[in-house]
Every structure is written in C-alpha cells, then in structure tokens.
C-alpha cells in the first residue's frame, strides 16, 4: 500500500522529522515501511520558462531556435525539434547542467551549428504521461496550463510548479488490517504512533437535483454474503479530467488518472479503503438491482472484455435480466463510464470476504477491489464513502447528485465488546501499566469504553479477544520497551535415542568418505522409468500434487534412488571426476486416499569414479551396520532388482526382513542419466535398522589361551559363493572358529574350467584350554566335512 505524505497530512501532522525517523516509528508500531521515495528527486535544474520568440533553424527544416525567459528577463537560447510550440507557451526548460529521470544529463551544446543552452522537455522526459496532464500532448513539448493546475511562475523549479514533489511511502499491510489499506487507516496509525490528533472529515452532499426514490428497487438476496448495498444516482454526468491535486494524489498512490468519475471511485477507495463502482444507468434493465448468487452457467463479459461463466458459489450484482457485475471483483462491460454516459449509479457495498476471495481466485482475476474485500471490510464505512464520492462529484462539478440513498442492509453497527482485563494484560506481556494508561492507548485507536469493557470500532474485525487488546497495548507501549525475562523453572533438553541414531549414521557416512546432500522430495513420474521401475511396481503409486509447479516436481517420491541419481548425473555433467554422496531422506508411501502417507526414513548412498566398486559400497554398508550395532545380517545376491545390475546386486536382511539393497546401477539406468561410469548405490531402511539395533554391549574377557591358525585351500564350482563356504566353515568349526579370512580366489590356469580355487585363513581358539593337535585336527575335519557338502574339496 502506497501512501502519499501530502494526503496523510490532510488528516494528521506527525511533525517535522527526517523521513527515516517517520518510517522507523511507523515500522515499530506495526505498519511496516518497505521503502519511500520523493517524486522528482531525479530532476534537477529544470525550471518553468516562457517561449519568447521562435525562428527556424537556418540549417534544418524541423528545428526551432527558441528564446525562453526563465523569469530574470535574460532570454536563453534553446533549440528544439518539437512542432507544438508557439511564442507565449510556458514550458519546462532543462538548463545547462540539469538532470532528468533515468540519470539523463543535459548540457549546453550546438545543434547543427546553433548554440542551445539546454532542452525543452516533453511529459515523457519528466517521467509523466498525458494521464497526469490531460491537456498536454504525448509527442511534443509539455505546455503548462492553468487548466491543468500548473503554477506558471517563471523560473520556478518544475517539480514544484507541477506538484511532482510528494513523498510516497510504501507499507506492507498484514492481512488482519484491512482498515490500513486506506489513507485514513494509516493516518490513524500515524496519529497514534506520534501521539498527534487525527482530524477526519465528514463528507456533506448538497444534492437537491430531484429524488432518486423509486428509481431502482435494490434488494440483497444473498443476505449471508452481502451486509450492505448502497447506491446514489448522479445525473448530467460531465466526464472530464480531474483537477491536478486529485490526479497528483492518485499518481502518488500508483493509480493512473482516467477521468473524473473513475478517478473519484479510485480516490474514495484509497481514502476510505472502500471499493466503489459506477454503473451507467442506461444498462441497468428492469429498474432493479439484485445482489444474488449467480445461476449455474450464467455468463458475464467483464470490463476487461473476457466472457466469464459463473457458478452458484459466485455472487453477482444483477438487474432484472442479467448480471451487471461480479460482486466485489469487477463490473460488466456495459457498466463502465462512456463518453455519452449521462446518469450513473455509484455503488458502495460490503461483500463477504471469503466469498469474494474464492470468486476472484476461481475467475483468476484479483483486482484492487477484491483484494480489499477479501480481508473483510467494515459495513459502516459504505455510507460515508458513498457520501464522499458524491461530495467529490459536486466539488469537481462532475454531475448533479440526486437526493436519497438506494439501499438494502442486514448488519448490526454495534461495536464488539471485550473486557479490559488490565491485570491479565500486564501479566501476559510482562509490563505494568495502569488501566488509564491502557485506555489512553486504546482511545487513540478509536476504541471507546463502557465501564471496564472496551468497545472496538467496527473497522477492526481483528480485535476479538483480550490477547488482541494486549497486542494493541504492546504495539503502542513499544515492543522494545518490554523488559526481557527468562522463562521461570528449569527444563532439561535432550536428544532422543532415535535422533542420536540418525546423527551416528550421518557422522559415520562422512567418516566413510560420503558427503551429505539434500534433494527435493518431489520428483517427476518419468523418473520411475529412468530407474527402470517395472510398470506394475506398487512403488509407482505415489502421492500426487494436484497443483504442481511442473512435471518435474509433481509427485512425492516413493523411492529416494532417482533423487540421488539426479545429483550424481549433475555432478557427472559438471565434470566432477568422482562423487561419493549420501542422503538421509524420506520416502512417501501412500496409504489410503484420506490418510496421510507413511514417511519412511531412508539412507541412500551413491557413488561413481575414484576407483569405487561393488565392494566399496558393500564395505561401507558393513562398517555402518557394525557401528549401528545391527547384528546377524545376511546378504544374498539378487537379480530381481530392476534398477540394478542383475549380477551385481544384493539384498541385505535381518531374520528375513529386508533392510536394504546395494549394488551396481543397471547400465541402462546409468545411460538414462547420461553417466558414462559405473554407479554404485546402497539404500537402507533407517526406521527398520533402528528397531533392529542392539546397542547394549557386554565385555567379553580377553582370551587366555593361544590361537591356532590354519590355511585352507579349496577347489569348488565357480557358482558356489564364498559366503556359502564361510557358512560351512562356521557350521563345521562351531564355537572354536574365531575368525575366517579370505585371502585368495583364483580362476584360470591349473584350475579346471568352471571351477575356482578359494583360500581361507582360519583362526581357531578355545576359551577352555590351549588347543591340542587332536582338537584342531578334529575341528578341521568337521569343517572339511561341511565344506564337502557344498561340493568344495581340498585343493591338492
């Protein structure tokens, strides 16, 4: 919301102070200033000048040599190319060393050999348009006229002469303060902030041009959505430009002046915060105005020329036959003011905020009016605003106002009553003000009192509760004057076991060389294709965002894998030679339609380059599981994971429940991501891991007896996994097996085709005694027996 300081000063005078002091004080009392600007500060050394004489440039058929008077009687020669001047015209002259908007500098010089001591300016060169000065021309020098309200004193700085010197402050208005979307509302805040009087004006309408009684039958049918509908009739409308002071204010507030009638509706909206509308009475058929819900499928062509189909949820202003406006949003095409408009109907109404908001949203047209209505306006301001509009019509001689107000209303003008719990407010805020001091603050905001009750003005729908009253007290007492305290009583903050578990995962992954990433939780459904997810996979059923920004962020991921691959691909494309990354993120598994999904915490590790292979990622999994105290996990090869290389993928499980998967990304998937390297990934179900972790540790006494080490070279079918052999060794050796270390796997020469040689180093130890040869041999024999069951034999 922009605020013209000139306009503000009409209602309250905060006093002489630097703008910075004004804006700081307003910000700290709750009206946040986003910035401010004084008009015309870009313009320097441009003055009012009169064209004394003109002659043709000897060397040009379009240039004119003008002698201009800037008030000191010393003519200054300026050459201009404009064709709209004549001697006697008063114009803006940019003298030698002057500045124009956009940082343009004017210096004296020669134009085709003739000295020119400056430049005569057009509207555009001063940053203005014909909306600001309707008698001026677009493509020529700006000729100042009294008609446009210009001061023609020669030598006067141009900004002063044409009123281009207002200061405009931009406020951020919060949604709870519709009253501050108006000059009066902000003036009230300013008066309270600087503790100055607020002098509001009560509009008076002379009227007396006949009565409007019976001209129109006004009725609110949708009484739940419209509390007031009021209108006055103005006949013999004289459409013309508004006077300079009004145009100036509109311009300062960022509204383009159009003509007196339109300008009046905008002016009143800015001043009172009450949207107004003017209908051409010619197009109101059947002598009636109805405020009603639209009929399904009913259409209206709005002022912007768009034909719109309405629904029963949307509210319209209608005549006997058709909708003539979408209530609170925009008028119909024939409702506007035209050159031949004679009689108009000024509307000032109060519509339900939620209804206007929904309508504007559904119709995709948020307007100045709708953005005000949707915050909830005060029904009590309809009539003063309507009167103000008519008062302006008379002041501007824009038409003849008829007596009487056409209206229908359903509202109570009673003020809301909130007990002033003075002790509670002091306790709640941590201050100590007397009841009188509190009342003095509230009185500045137009609150009145009935005993110890606060009666809040109807333009403050946000004041409902004693906490709201407390906020008003706090704002004007000063938030920063409230003495800070510590919360009484002590509390012990702590991390839960789960939070520590997650932290351990992150720390371990970093220690293992993986860097943490963060990715978007939403992905494109196409990503499932990229990771080769089968069409019938249940994971294809995702939570779908109904209004996504784009396809790439349209569904919530059911697997974190594509998020990791996107990042790896980006790194690969950025020519990073290697990457080893992890994310502890969520996967979103849908449940039923009206239930929230399961948000599953998953660890994903992904890497390429740097010499990594399947066993790098497996080693990470092993070490992480060890640190997390997840014991007795199994690993089994799987060729069923569609995203992975069928021969280089494994499922990790504990007691048959799957805790994760690791392996080399399927080459086709890698290709889909444009990664020309082998990619290795690991995912682990963190929620499950946490439930499986056995972090309790018990000390086992150090061994008292020496160990026996035996090497075992075996030969077996290539298909038999080392894991199978290891299991056989453990089964055979039982408790005596302290450790098994694989030290060689060999295929090739000297080994029969389809076979391989596998060599282990086995450490045996008893906790009871030093192992004898017999014991050791017996154990080795049992181990061999188990190994033979797998088809392995001692290598001879």
């Amino acid at each position: 919301m922009n605020l013209s300081m000139r306009w503000l000063n009409e209602f309250t005078q905060p006093g002489e102070m630097p703008m910075r002091t004004f804006t700081e004080a307003m910000t700290m009392s709750g009206s946040k200033v986003e910035g401010w600007e004084t008009e015309g500060t870009e313009i320097e050394n441009v003055v009012v000048a009169k064209v004394v004489s003109m002659e043709h440039h000897p060397d040009s058929d379009h240039l004119w040599i003008c002698q201009v008077d800037t008030g000191d009687g010393q003519p200054i020669q300026i050459v201009t190319g404009a064709q709209n001047l004549k001697p006697g015209d008063v114009v803006p002259a940019a003298l030698h060393n002057s500045l124009l908007p956009g940082g343009k500098k004017i210096k004296k010089g020669k134009l085709r050999g003739v000295e020119s001591n400056g430049m005569l300016c057009s509207l555009g060169e001063l940053g203005l348009t014909t909306h600001d000065f309707p008698s001026a021309v677009e493509d020529g020098i700006f000729v100042l006229t009294e008609e446009d309200g210009c001061d023609l004193t020669l030598g006067k700085p141009i900004c002063e002469a044409i009123g281009l010197n207002d200061t405009v402050v931009e406020f951020e208005i919060t949604s709870n303060r519709p009253d501050c979307f108006s000059v009066i509302g902000l003036a009230r805040e300013a008066a309270a902030t600087f503790d100055k009087p607020l002098s509001l004006h009560t509009p008076t309408v002379k009227a007396g041009h006949g009565s409007s009684d019976g001209m129109l039958d006004v009725k609110i049918e949708a009484t739940d959505l419209c509390s007031v509908y009021s209108a006055r009739v103005v006949k013999n409308v004289r459409v013309k430009p508004s006077p300079r002071w009004l145009r100036e204010r509109l311009r300062a507030m960022g509204v383009r002046p159009i003509n007196n009638i339109v300008d009046i509706t905008n002016y009143v909206m800015l001043e009172y915060g009450q949207p107004m509308h003017a209908f051409d009475l010619r197009f109101v058929e059947g002598g009636q105005i109805r405020v009603r819900r639209a009929k399904a499928g009913e259409t209206i062509t709005t002022l912007d020329g768009v034909e719109r189909t309405l629904t029963e949820k949307q509210m319209v202003i209608a005549d006997a036959k058709k909708p003539i406006a979408i209530a609170g949003v925009m008028g119909g095409e024939f409702s506007g003011i035209m050159d031949d408009t004679n009689t108009i109907l000024f509307e000032s109404a109060c519509f339900d905020g939620a209804s206007v908001r929904t309508t504007a949203r559904d119709q995709g047209m948020r307007t100045e009016a709708s953005s005000r209505y949707e915050k909830g306006l005060d029904p009590n301001s309809c009539l003063p605003a309507l009167d103000r509009a008519c008062e302006l019509v008379e002041l501007l001689d824009a038409g003849d106002v008829l007596d009487g107000v056409l209206m229908d209303s359903h509202f109570s003008s009673d003020r809301r009553r909130i007990p002033l719990e003075h002790d509670w407010i002091n306790r709640f805020l941590g201050i100590s003000l007397s009841e009188e001091e509190m009342k003095a603050i509230l009185a500045k905001l137009d609150c009145t009192f009935d005993g110890s009750d606060v009666l809040v003005p109807t333009f403050r729908p946000d004041l409902e509760h004693k906490a709201d009253i407390a906020e008003e007290i706090a704002r004007f007492y000063g938030y920063n004057k409230i003495q800070s305290t510590s919360i009484r009583g002590s509390a012990q903050g702590k991390y839960t076991a789960r939070q520590k578990f997650d932290r351990t995962i992150m720390q371990t992954m970093r220690a293992l060389g993986a860097s943490e990433i963060m990715t978007y939780s939403f992905i494109s459904p196409k990503y499932y294709d990229k990771i080769l997810m089968p069409m019938d996979s249940p994971l294809r059923k995702s939570i779908v965002i109904s209004n996504p920004l784009g396809e790439d962020t349209s569904i919530m991921r059911t697997t974190i894998l594509p998020s990791m691959l996107e990042v790896l691909a980006r790194n690969y494309n950025n020519r990073n030679a290697e990457a080893c990354l992890f994310e502890l993120g969520r996967e979103y598994i849908p449940t039923t339609e009206n239930e929230l999904p399961i948000e599953k915490n998953t660890l994903i590790v992904g890497m390429y380059g740097g010499g990594c292979d399947f066993f790098t990622v497996k080693g990470m999994a092993e070490q992480l599981l060890e640190i997390l105290c997840v014991k007795n996990w199994d690993i089994a090869a799987s060729s069923e994971e569609s995203s992975y290389h069928p021969g280089r993928c494994a499922i990790l499980s504990v007691d048959g429940s799957r805790i994760g998967v690791l392996g080399e990304l399927h080459p086709k998937a890698a290709e889909n991501y444009g990664i020309n390297e082998r990619v290795f990934c690991l995912t682990l179900d963190v929620d499950l891991l946490f439930s499986l972790a056995e972090p309790e540790k018990t000390y086992t006494s150090l061994p008292k007896f020496p160990a026996v080490t035996r090497d075992l070279a075996l030969i077996c079918d290539d298909a038999i996994s080392v894991g199978t052999l290891e299991k056989a060794i453990v089964t055979g050796g039982g408790a005596l097996v302290e450790s098994i270390k694989l030290f060689d796997v060999y295929k090739g020469e000297q080994i029969e085709k389809g076979k391989k040689s596998v060599a282990f180093n086995i450490v045996l130890r008893s906790r009871e005694n030093t192992l004898t040869d017999e014991q050791t041999n017996a154990a080795m024999k049992k181990i061999m027996k188990e190994l033979e069951k797998t088809g392995a034999a001692l290598r001879s």
Binding site: T27, G430, R475, T485
Partner: protein, 381 residues
C-alpha cells in the same frame, strides 16, 4: 672398608688398584713384599699393556661386529684377560686375590669401554639413519576420504544445540499434512486471506504439503500436557518457482513453549538469548509488531545488520536490519483447539527459515546451490 691416606711410594703406587691390595701389601713381610711387588709389577704391566691395547683398538672399532671380535679377543674364553686370570692358578694364596682383583679391574674397564663404544656406534648409526631419512614434509599427506556435511545440516545442528542447551526437546512431524493441522487448527480457516501468502501444494482438498512447521505445534499440544518446550525443524513446501532466493522446498525451525505464566517478556528473553548464541553476544535484536493468525501479539525479530551496524547497506537492503524470524504469544484460540486451557496456560511460538541464515553465514548468493549438491560446493563445508 675405609682407606686411610698413608703417604709414600707404595701408597701412590698401589692406591689405584684399590684398598685391598694396599692393605695386603702392608700385611706382608719386607722380603715378601719385594718379591710380591715384582710379580705384581710384572703382571700389572702385562695387564696395563692389554688395557691400553684394548682401548686403542676399541676406539678404532667401526662397527658392532668389530666390537664383538675385540670382546672375544680380550674377554672371550681364549681372550687375553681370561688368559691372565687362568695363570692365577700358579700364584700364591696371598697374590691371587691381588692379581685377581687387578685382572677383574682391567676386565671391567674393557667391558665398560665396549659398552660405551657400542652406544657411541649405535648413536652414530642412528644419527646417520636420521640424516638419511629426512622427508620433504611439504609432500601431500596420505588421506582417507572424508565426507562433508551439508551446510544446511551444519547450521541446523548448531541451532538444535542452542535450543537443547536451553531446555528444548526436538520433535518431528509429517511433511504431508492435513489442512486441519496446517491451517484450521492454527486459526487460519478456509478462505482466510493469510492462505494467499503461503501458496500451498495440495494433494486433495484435505491433504497438502505443509507450508510451515507450525502444524507440529498443534500435534505436540494435542499429545503433551504443559509444560512444553520443543523445537521442530523440517522441510516445508510452497509453490514458489525456483530462483536465486526462492525454492518450492525449504527448511523451517518451529519453536513452542507452553506453561503457566509464560509472558511476552519471556518470549523476548528467550529469543534474545538464542540470537546472541547464534550470531554472537554483541548482536543487537529488535522486536517489530507483525501478524500471524496463530499468535497474538505477534512479532518479527530483526537483527541489526552485521555489515553496516544499522546504517543501511546493500546487504540489508538499506534497512539496517535483517529479519530472521517470526514469533508471538500462542493465540488463545489455538491453545483451545488443542485442548489446553488458555486461562491457565500461556505460551509462545517461533518460526524461522533456515536457508537464509545459512546463506548469510557462508555468503552464499544462490539458494539453488543447496539442492544442486555439486561436490565442489559440498566440499567447502
């Protein structure tokens, strides 16, 4: 046994060989003395010769092996000193201890010399080795790969630590949330204009991606009786197109305190402490009135620009202050919605965005970098 200074030749002559010899000498008859003196003299000369030779040879020795050879030569079974000791059999009972003692003295001297030389040689070898082993310490270290923390995690962990230190617990909440928890329970009914400022991703009419971490407040209050002191960090979603300062997904940290007698002054005190711990003890903080539907009174907290100290500069967009969080006293309606009696309890809530804090901390100028995860970016933290 003490040895008294007797003066004279014998004293001077024998004293070096020890008190026993001297006393023995005194005990002998004059003739015996002369005879003994001659024998002793001859053997002494022999031993002295051995000693001198040994010492000069040892000094010349160049290695451990040479030392060992010399040890064998003098002290070994067939060594020269051993040979003298063997000859002792022919000596009288009186002479034997004298010469024995003498021989042992020489033996010890040689042994000591060997030990000394051995140590010297070892030291020399060590010195030589140390000299040869000198490294170019500027060669690169051999590193195990080490991963980096995401910058958002680093600062978030720091914020968590601060709050845990102030007695807050950390709780988690769902990101896919119901309209009720995200809006309704927070005093933002359907069609409330505040919904416009938070462009929401909807799943269906009742389910959405949370636009703020505030729904966790409601979930906590529904479950837990006051006193409550929690923070809840997490992801939130708003349909903002991606650019240098906007992201449809970002992180917030919610805070909530509910107990009997919590005041606005407590809110100020707590947040001032937090800001000073995060930004330094010399930070200047201000509370500026604002509006949130679920708090009343509400405030935004600004910290004075670290760059210009309030003068106004490019960093703070000329304002002199940088907005860092929103807060306020929990709205009585919200307490009531959660089944907490607003007449008995009061509380405050706060919400802050993480990304901007991190961007300022590390001078990061583009929010997209956080989610692009280029390793060259990640490795800087």
């Amino acid at each position: 046994m003490t040895c008294v200074n007797q003066g004279g030749t014998a004293e001077k002559y024998l004293r070096p060989f020890g008190a026993e010899i001297f006393l023995f000498w005194r005990a002998c008859s004059l003739a015996d003395r002369r005879r003994n003196l001659e024998r002793i003299d001859s053997m002494k000369q022999e031993l002295e010769a051995i000693r001198q030779r040994a010492i000069s040879e040892l000094e010349a020795a160049k290695g451990q092996q040479e030392l060992e050879t010399l040890r064998v030569k003098y002290l070994g079974k067939k060594g020269e000193v051993t040979a003298i000791l063997k000859k002792m059999g022919s000596l009288s009972a009186e002479e034997r201890p004298v010469i024995g003692q003498l021989a042992n003295e020489v033996r010890t001297m040689i042994e000591d010399e060997i030990t000394k030389r051995a140590a010297e040689l070892k030291e020399a070898i060590l010195q030589e080795r140390l000299k040869n082993e000198a490294l170019d310490v500027t060669l690169p270290g051999r590193q195990r790969p080490l991963g980096a923390s995401h910058p958002l995690s680093i600062v978030l962990d720091e914020i968590k630590e601060i709050f845990v230190g102030m007695g807050f617990d950390i709780v988690d909440g769902p990101e896919v949330e119901t309209d009720y928890y995200n809006f309704e329970a927070l005093n933002i009914p359907k069609n409330h204009p505040a919904r416009d400022t938070q462009d929401t991703f909807y799943i269906n009419e009742n389910i959405l991606l949370r636009t703020q971490t505030s729904p966790v407040q409601v979930r906590v209050m529904e479950k837990q009786k006051p006193p409550i002191r929690i923070i809840s960090p997490g992801r939130v979603y708003r349909s903002d197109a991606v650019d240098a300062t906007h992201s449809p997904l970002f992180h917030q940290i919610e805070g909530l305190v509910v107990a009997e007698g919590i005041t606005f002054a407590d809110l100020k005190g707590t947040l001032e402490t937090f800001v000073k711990r995060l930004y330094g003890e010399d930070s200047v903080v201000r509370f500026r009135p604002h509006h949130f539907p679920f708090t009343e009174p509400s405030a935004e907290v600004d910290v004075q620009c670290f760059n210009c100290h309030g003068e106004g500069c490019r960093l703070c967009k000329g304002e002199g202050w940088i907005e860092i969080l929103g807060c306020g006293m929990v709205h009585p309606k919200v307490l009531q919605n959660c089944g907490i009696d607003p007449e008995k309890y009061s509380g405050f809530a706060l919400g802050m965005g993480l990304e901007r804090v991190v961007m300022r901390r590390y001078n990061i100028d583009d929010l997209r970098l956080f989610y692009e995860n280029d390793v060259r970016f990640l490795k800087q933290f």
